[in-house]
C-alpha cells in the first residue's frame, strides 16, 4: 500500500499548484496519466488575467459579462482579488512574463476584455508556468507517479480515504491511502471531435468524484475557442487552439470569398469566445485566420511558438500566415461542484482547476481567467487538503480487489467491438448535437448515442492483452468515463431550457433569468444522473443591477 498525506490526481497547472501548496504540510503525491511536462496546461497559449485595484471593477464586469450573469460573484471577486498575488508567486517561481519596451510588465487585451488584463509569456504562457511549477514540485520533494491513471476513489464510510490507480507501464493496479484527495485532472474538451484537447481529455477525475457521490455543476457549458487550426476533420492533430494572441494583434477572420467576417468587434473590443464562435459557426464555407496585416516583428515577438506549427501544417508549406480555422472546444466550464476553497460535497475530497466548478466562469469564459483559476484554485485546494488532521481512513480491501479485477478482466476480452470506433462516433455526435448550436434533434441523437455506447462498452474487446504499457486498456477506461461525462453534459443541456453564454439552443433561443439564473447540478441517484437547479449565492447580481 502506498501512503501519502495528500494525493493530488492530475499534473497540470492546478495539480502542481495544489501539490506545492500542500507540500509544506506533509507528504504529497501527484498521480498523473501523463508526465506533468506533457500535461494539457502546456497547451494554453493565452496568458493569465491579473488586476490591481483600478482594473478590478472592469475585469469583474467583463468576467460577469462573459459568464452571462451566472458567475458566483463571491467566488469570482475572490479569484480576481488574488490575481496580483498569484502572478507575483509565478514570477517568484521563475516565470518570465513578457516585458514591454519600457521594461514594464506587458499586458494583452484578449477576447471579451474591455481593457488589457492579461499577463503573458509570448504565446507559451501555459508551458512557461508548467516548467516553473514542475521545478518547484521537484524542490518540494513531491512524489510524482507519472503515467499512472487513477480509476476509482476509495471511501471509508462516506469520507474519501484514497484512490485506486493503474500503473500504465507495468499494468499493475495499486491502492493509495491518503488523508485527503485533490482532483485536478482537467476537463472534458476531448468528448468533442472539434477540440483543442486530445480525446484522452475526457473528465476521468470528474467521473471518479461523481461515482463517489459528488455532484457536477454547469456541465452544459463548454468554451469554444474561435480559432482552432483546421487540418483533417476528426483526426488527432486537428484543432490546435492558435488564436488568442494572434487575434489580439489584429489577425482577421475571412470567409471563403476573402471578405472579413464580422465577429462582433465594437469600439476596439471583441466579444467573448462564445459570441465569436457562434458568429463563425453561422458562416457558410471555409474560414481562414489572416495574419497578413500584422507587423512581422510583432508576429515573431508575440506568437513565436505558433509560427513553426503553422508552417509545418499548412499544406502549401510556404506562408503559414493565412490558415484555415474553425471553433474548437477548449475549456470545460462545468465540473465537480466545489465551494470557494475547493471542498466538494464529499468529506476529504477537493477539486481544482478545470476539473472543478466554483462558479467563477458562469456560463462563458473570459479568456485569461483559466490559467488564473488553475493556479489559484489549485493552491487553495492544496492548502485545504493538507489541513486534514484526522488519521488515515480504512482501505476496504474487497473494494480494491474488485477494481483490480474489473481492470484485469478487460485485458482478457479478446472478442468484440473496437473502442476506437465507439469513441469516434460518440465524439462526433457530441460535436453535432452539443457543439456551438444545440438543437433538440441533435441533443436527442447524442443522447441515444450515449445509450448505445453504454451497451456496447460491455462488448468492447482489446486487440492486445499484454499488461505492459497497454494504451488500449487506458483508452477503454477513458471511453467509460467519456460516455458518462457526455451523458451528464447532455442531461444538463436538455434541462436548461434557455440560451445563455456558451449554451445556445435553437428551440429556446432566449435567456430566461426568471427560471434559469441558477446552477445546474447533476448527481447520481441509484445509478441514474438527475439534474436539479440550485440558486446562486445571495450576493449575485441580477442582470439589471449589473447593467
Amino acid at each position: 500500500m502506498i501512503q501519502h498525506d495528500v494525493i493530488v490526481v492530475g499534473g497540470g497547472v492546478a495539480g502542481l499548484s495544489a501539490a506545492i501548496a500542500a507540500a509544506g504540510n506533509g507528504s504529497v503525491a501527484i498521480i498523473s496519466k501523463s508526465h506533468p511536462l506533457r500535461s494539457m496546461s502546456a497547451n494554453i497559449r493565452e496568458g493569465v488575467n491579473s488586476c490591481d485595484d483600478d482594473l478590478f471593477p472592469s475585469l469583474l464586469a467583463d468576467t460577469i459579462h462573459a459568464g452571462e450573469y451566472l458567475n458566483d460573484v463571491t467566488a469570482t471577486e475572490s479569484l480576481l482579488r488574488d490575481s496580483g498575488e498569484m502572478v507575483a508567486k509565478l514570477e517568484e517561481y521563475g516565470v518570465a512574463f513578457t516585458r514591454d519596451a519600457e521594461g514594464s510588465a506587458a499586458t494583452a487585451q484578449l477576447q471579451g476584455a474591455s481593457r488589457a488584463y492579461t499577463r503573458y509569456c509570448s504565446d507559451h504562457t501555459g508551458r512557461a508556468i508548467i516548467n516553473a511549477l514542475w521545478s518547484q514540485v521537484i524542490r518540494c520533494g513531491v512524489s510524482v507517479y507519472d503515467e499512472w491513471m487513477a480509476t476509482k476513489l476509495l471511501l471509508d464510510e462516506s469520507s474519501v480515504c484514497g484512490v485506486v490507480a493503474l500503473d500504465i507501464r507495468s499494468g499493475r493496479v495499486h491502492p493509495f491511502s491518503g488523508r485527503s484527495v485533490v482532483i485536478a485532472s482537467g476537463g472534458y474538451g476531448g468528448i468533442f471531435t472539434d477540440s483543442a484537447a486530445g480525446s484522452y481529455v475526457c473528465g476521468d477525475g470528474l467521473m471518479m468524484a461523481y461515482q463517489a457521490g459528488a455532484s457536477l455543476s454547469n456541465m452544459e457549458f463548454v468554451d469554444f475557442h474561435p480559432a482552432g487550426l483546421k487540418t483533417v476533420d476528426g483526426m488527432a492533430s486537428d484543432g490546435a487552439a492558435i488564436g488568442d494572441m494572434a487575434i489580439a494583434l489584429g489577425a482577421r477572420f475571412l470567409n471563403s470569398d476573402g471578405d472579413e467576417i464580422d465577429v462582433g468587434l465594437k469600439n476596439g473590443v471583441l466579444p467573448p469566445d462564445h459570441v465569436m464562435s457562434s458568429s463563425l459557426h453561422k458562416v457558410a464555407g471555409d474560414v481562414t485566420l489572416d495574419f497578413t496585416g500584422i507587423d512581422k516583428d510583432l508576429l515573431t515577438e508575440i506568437v513565436p511558438s505558433c509560427l513553426p506549427l503553422l508552417r509545418s501544417l499548412t499544406s502549401n508549406g510556404t506562408s503559414g500566415i493565412r490558415v484555415p480555422v474553425k471553433p474548437v472546444a477548449r475549456r470545460s466550464i462545468g465540473g465537480i461542484t466545489v465551494d470557494n476553497v475547493g471542498a466538494t460535497g464529499v468529506p476529504r475530497l477537493y477539486a481544482a482547476g478545470e476539473a472543478a466548478c466554483s462558479g467563477v466562469h458562469g456560463a462563458g469564459l473570459l479568456v485569461g481567467n483559466s490559467l488564473l483559476e488553475d493556479v489559484a484554485s489549485g493552491w487553495n485546494a492544496g492548502v485545504e487538503g493538507s489541513r486534514i488532521e484526522a488519521g488515515f481512513g480504512a482501505i476496504n480491501e474487497s473494494e480494491t480487489n474488485e477494481e483490480q479485477n474489473r481492470i484485469e478482466n478487460m485485458l482478457r476480452r479478446d472478442e468484440g467491438t473496437s473502442s476506437a470506433a465507439l469513441s469516434y462516433a460518440l465524439r462526433r455526435a457530441m460535436t453535432d448535437g452539443l457543439g456551438i448550436i444545440r438543437s433538440p434533434d441533435g441533443m436527442e441523437a447524442a443522447s441515444q448515442m450515449v445509450s448505445h455506447c453504454r451497451q456496447a462498452l460491455n462488448d468492447v474487446a482489446l486487440y492486445d492483452g499484454r499488461k505492459r504499457y497497454n494504451q488500449e486498456l487506458v483508452r477503454v477506461l477513458e471511453l467509460g468515463n467519456m460516455i458518462e461525462v457526455a451523458g451528464a453534459v447532455i442531461t444538463s443541456a436538455m434541462a436548461r431550457e434557455e440560451s445563455r453564454g456558451s449554451h445556445r439552443r435553437t428551440d429556446f433561443a432566449e435567456v430566461n433569468d426568471d427560471k434559469y439564473q441558477m446552477n445546474s447540478e447533476v448527481s447520481l441517484n441509484q445509478g441514474v444522473g438527475e439534474v436539479t437547479f440550485v440558486s446562486l449565492s445571495t450576493n449575485n447580481l441580477s442582470r439589471q443591477e449589473a447593467e
Binding site: S34, H35, L37, R38, S39, M40, A42, N43, E91, E92, Y93, G94, V95, A96, F97, R99, D100, A101, E102, H124, G126, R127, A132, S135, I138, R139, R169, A196, A197, G198, Y200, V201, G228, T231, V232, M235, A236, S237, A240, I242, P304, S305, L307, P308, L309, S312, L313, S315, V328, S418, A420, A421, Y424, L462, Y463, D464, R466, R468, Y469, E472
Partner: protein
C-alpha cells in the same frame, strides 16, 4: 495521395531480442500528419502498436519520434512531406531507452534536468524586477517542452556516456541568465565536467528542427562565452 507505406519499429523488451520493423499500408489524405497515421493504424489495423499521442498542436511534446531518421513531432509532420516516395520510416526517438515500440523512457533524461536543481532560487528576500533585456534572454528557453528532439540529434551521446545533453545545457543557460536566481557560479560549475559544456559540439538541433523555435546552439554558445569570461576553460 492515397496509399502510403509506413515502416514502423516494433519492440517489446519482454518478448523480443531485437528491434524489428513492421510495414503498414495506410489511406493517406491531404493534411494528415504522422500522428494521425499512427492513430489510424492503431484504431483500424493493429491495436498493439504503442506510441505516445499528443493533443492537437503537439505543445506537450509527447509525440516526438524519428521520421526517416530525423527527430520531429509526429503531430507536426505531414505524411505528404515525410512520404515523398509513398513510404516513410518511423522509429523511436534516438538515444532514448525504448519501453515499447515507439514509446521511449524519458526518466534518465529528466533526472539529468532534476539534478540541475532547476528551480529559480534567490538568496535575497527582495526579488529584483526583470528588465526587458533579461526577458529577451529568457523568453525562448521557457518554451522548452523537454521533448528530446534536440538531443536525438546529439551525436555526443554515442561517444561519451557521461554527456549531459543539449537540454540540460539549455536549462542551465536559462537559470544562469535569470537575475532572480543567485547561484550562477554553482550552476555553471555543475556543467563543466566530463560530458558537460565543453563537450557540446554544436551540431545538435538548429532552430529549424526545434519544434518550439528555440535555438539551443545559440543559447549554449552564450553559456560557453559566459563561462570563458568567468575564467573557466576546458580542462584538457
Amino acid at each position: 495521395m492515397d496509399s502510403v507505406e509506413l515502416v514502423i519499429t516494433r519492440y517489446d523488451p519482454e518478448v523480443d531480442d531485437f528491434h524489428k520493423t513492421q510495414t503498414y499500408s495506410i489511406r493517406a489524405v491531404p493534411g494528415m500528419t504522422i500522428l494521425d497515421a499512427l492513430v489510424q493504424i492503431r484504431d483500424e489495423q493493429d491495436g498493439s502498436l504503442r506510441f505516445r499521442e499528443s493533443e492537437p498542436g503537439g505543445w506537450s511534446g509527447s509525440c516526438a519520434v524519428m521520421v526517416n531518421d530525423v527527430p520531429c513531432l509526429a503531430s507536426r509532420t505531414l505524411v505528404s512531406r515525410a512520404a515523398s516516395n509513398n513510404s516513410a520510416v518511423i522509429a523511436p526517438l534516438r538515444h532514448f531507452p525504448v519501453i515499447c515500440d515507439l514509446v521511449v523512457d524519458h526518466s534518465i533524461y529528466l533526472a539529468k534536468i532534476q539534478a540541475l536543481e532547476p528551480w529559480v532560487e534567490s538568496a535575497s528576500a527582495q526579488v529584483p524586477q526583470m528588465s526587458r533585456e533579461e526577458y529577451y534572454r529568457l523568453r525562448r528557453t521557457d518554451a522548452c517542452a523537454l521533448c528530446g528532439i534536440c538531443d536525438a540529434n546529439s551525436a555526443e551521446f554515442l561517444t561519451n556516456p557521461m554527456y549531459i545533453g543539449a537540454a540540460s545545457l539549455l536549462w542551465t543557460y536559462r537559470l544562469t541568465s535569470d537575475s532572480r536566481d543567485s547561484f550562477d557560479r554553482e550552476r555553471m560549475e555543475a556543467v563543466l565536467g566530463n560530458g558537460g559544456l565543453w563537450d557540446f559540439s554544436g551540431d545538435t538541433s538548429s532552430e529549424d528542427s526545434c519544434p518550439f523555435a528555440i535555438d539551443p546552439v545559440n543559447q549554449i554558445t552564450r553559456l560557453r562565452n559566459a563561462a570563458s569570461q568567468n575564467g573557466y576553460a576546458p580542462t584538457n
